[in-house]
């Protein structure tokens, strides 16, 4: 039942041109642009690849919430409530959909890194980077779902874009945090996006992810998870 639902929702998501462009096209384009302006010793191409793949995954995960809000306003969520699917299955299916639709975003940037920018790593490292980014996108999926259930369709769009850009920039997905003033760098270290990218970078360097990164991400996952659960419960009564 959930599989059928996930299949339907993945189809619907990938058919959304806006989604495809903003979560695959834009990160790939920005990656190629940033890494080919000026000279580079090759390390930036790798770090930026992880940053931009993380940015794409972040956008895809958040846009899931925009989809939820849209479904709320069209009455689709209400229609689902009169099918044998339970609300819990619906929200689980949504989260699983999120985990599927972040994949093309991650794959797009990694492919651009490997094919266009000549990033070279061991095969296990490629796999580890992809897997880390994939699993690490969970808190953002939860944040998106929380926004989608809590807010109206228009507000969700705006809030998700704000979350997307804010978390991406402050988290250092676009520009390395070494360019930041020290106070901003301190803030950045507490953002989920910064630690999300850190995990990916650790994989490219073949090192184990730091305990600090895992702890910060775990806290954010718990927070966003609670946010999603509370928003969902509140709206399930009114949808």
């Amino acid at each position: 039942m959930i599989t059928a639902y996930v299949r339907l929702e993945v189809r619907r998501t990938l058919r959304d041109a806006g989604f495809t462009i903003s979560t695959i096209g834009v990160p790939v384009m920005m990656y190629l642009l940033f890494t080919n302006l000026g000279t580079d010793d090759g390390s930036f191409a790798t770090a930026a690849m992880v940053g931009m793949a993380a940015y794409g995954a972040l956008g895809a995960a958040l846009s899931l919430g925009t989809g939820v809000a849209e479904d709320k306003s069209t009455g689709w969520l209400r229609q689902l409530r009169v099918t044998p699917m339970t609300p819990r299955q619906v929200v689980t299916g949504r989260a699983l959909t999120g985990s599927v639709v972040v994949l093309p975003a991650i794959a797009g940037v990694l492919l651009a890194g490997g094919l266009a920018n000549g990033v070279r790593m061991a095969a296990w490292q490629w796999a580890a980077v992809a897997l880390t980014l994939w699993l690490g996108s969970l808190p953002f999926t939860l944040l998106g779902i929380g926004n989608g259930y809590r807010l109206s369709a228009q507000t969700t769009g705006v809030v998700n874009v704000a979350c997307n850009l804010g978390l991406a920039v402050v988290g250092g997905l676009w520009f390395p945090t070494v360019l930041f003033p020290s106070w901003l760098r301190t803030i950045s270290e507490y953002t989920p996006t910064n630690r999300f990218a850190e995990l990916g970078v650790a994989m490219t360097e073949g090192t184990a992810p730091g305990a600090g990164a895992l702890a910060v991400l775990a806290v954010w996952t718990a927070l966003f998870g609670m946010y999603a659960a509370v928003s969902y419960r509140r709206s399930a009564r009114t949808v």
Binding site: A4, R11, T74, R78, R81, V82, P84
Partner: protein
């Protein structure tokens, strides 16, 4: 199976703020029956349907489907519903949508059959959001029956349909009802309720005003209608005529509802008040108005779009 009613409201009430949308509703629908919930906008039809589907819970009283809680019947796949509000779900084809809905039910009908029943076979591979209003309505009907449920609930199913589409819709609905399924639909069109339901339940202000076949409602509303031109004559005496139950003056014409039209006509003739005299059995429309005591204009107002 026991002979549990498919649908049972037991003194169910639901208020939104000060408005008692559904007010002590008692209603039992046996399996296999086609029932129309007839009422003006705001009569409580949609609220009743929301309670029935478990989308809302009653403040007091209870609602049972097949002898259990609505949520249980819905989860067991015994119910399909066509809800009133909402735009079509975007970026899926008709077939994809129905295939998905069918999979959520334990014993669905083949998708091809649902498509055929709703007259959608030719549109199966079109995107739902690119269909016309009438076609979308048929998709929603197909969604309601794709799971082959025992009970389908249709909230104002023919809103936004033209005459021809409406006819096709009712044909499809009857086809489904003939299989022994229970159908409950709401409407504010009397003719629809009369033509397509075994039984009409008239709702007003969240209460049941009448419950029976179209014929029974006409009988309940009383006898006939006698109309004649006043020709400027006085009107006060009309209410005292034998048989007359209500008097309505429209311009120069008096319309008397009577439970003994013969006696009324004789009395009028004795007063020589028979210009353009007309005697008619009460129509279902009149019966409905007599029951709700509301002007006809309010009845045909289109639902506000949400």
């Amino acid at each position: 199976m026991t002979n549990e009613p498919a649908v049972a409201f037991e003194a169910a009430s639901k208020a939104y703020g000060p408005v008692r949308a559904v007010d002590g509703l008692d209603l039992a629908v046996p399996p296999g029956e086609t029932v129309a919930l007839l009422g003006r906008n705001g009569a409580g039809k949609s609220t009743a349907i929301g309670l029935l589907l478990g989308l809302d819970t009653p403040d007091s009283g209870r609602v049972r489907l097949f002898g259990g809680a609505p949520a249980g019947a819905v989860a067991a796949g015994r119910v399909g519903a066509m809800l009133q509000e909402g735009r079509p779900v975007p970026r899926v084809t008709v077939r994809e949508l129905l295939t998905f809905v069918a999979r959520t039910y334990p014993s669905p009908m083949p998708v091809a059959e649902a498509l055929a029943l709703a007259g959608l076979t030719a549109l199966a591979d079109r995107r739902v959001e690119r269909l016309s209003g009438g076609q979308v309505q048929r998709v929603r009907f197909a969604v309601a029956l794709a799971g082959n449920p025992e009970l389908i609930v249709l909230d104002e199913p023919t809103n936004a349909l033209d005459v021809e589409a409406r006819q096709e819709f009712w044909d499809a609905m009857r086809g489904y009802a003939r299989r022994g399924n229970t159908v409950l639909f709401s409407t504010h069109y009397l003719e629809e309720a009369d033509a397509h339901a075994d039984r009409i339940v008239v709702l007003d202000s969240g209460r049941i005003l009448a419950d029976g076949t179209g014929e029974e409602l006409k009988r309940a509303a009383g006898g006939g209608l006698v109309a004649f031109d006043l020709a400027g004559g006085p009107t006060e005496w009309l209410g005292t005529l034998p048989g007359v139950t209500s008097v309505e003056i429209r311009g120069d014409r008096a319309r008397l509802r009577t439970d003994d039209s013969d006696a009324t006509v004789r009395a009028l003739a004795a007063r020589d008040a028979i210009r353009s005299l007309e005697v008619a059995p009460v129509s279902l429309n009149d019966a409905f108005l007599a029951l709700t005591h509301k002007p006809a204009a309010a009845l045909k107002e289109p639902e506000p779009t949400r």
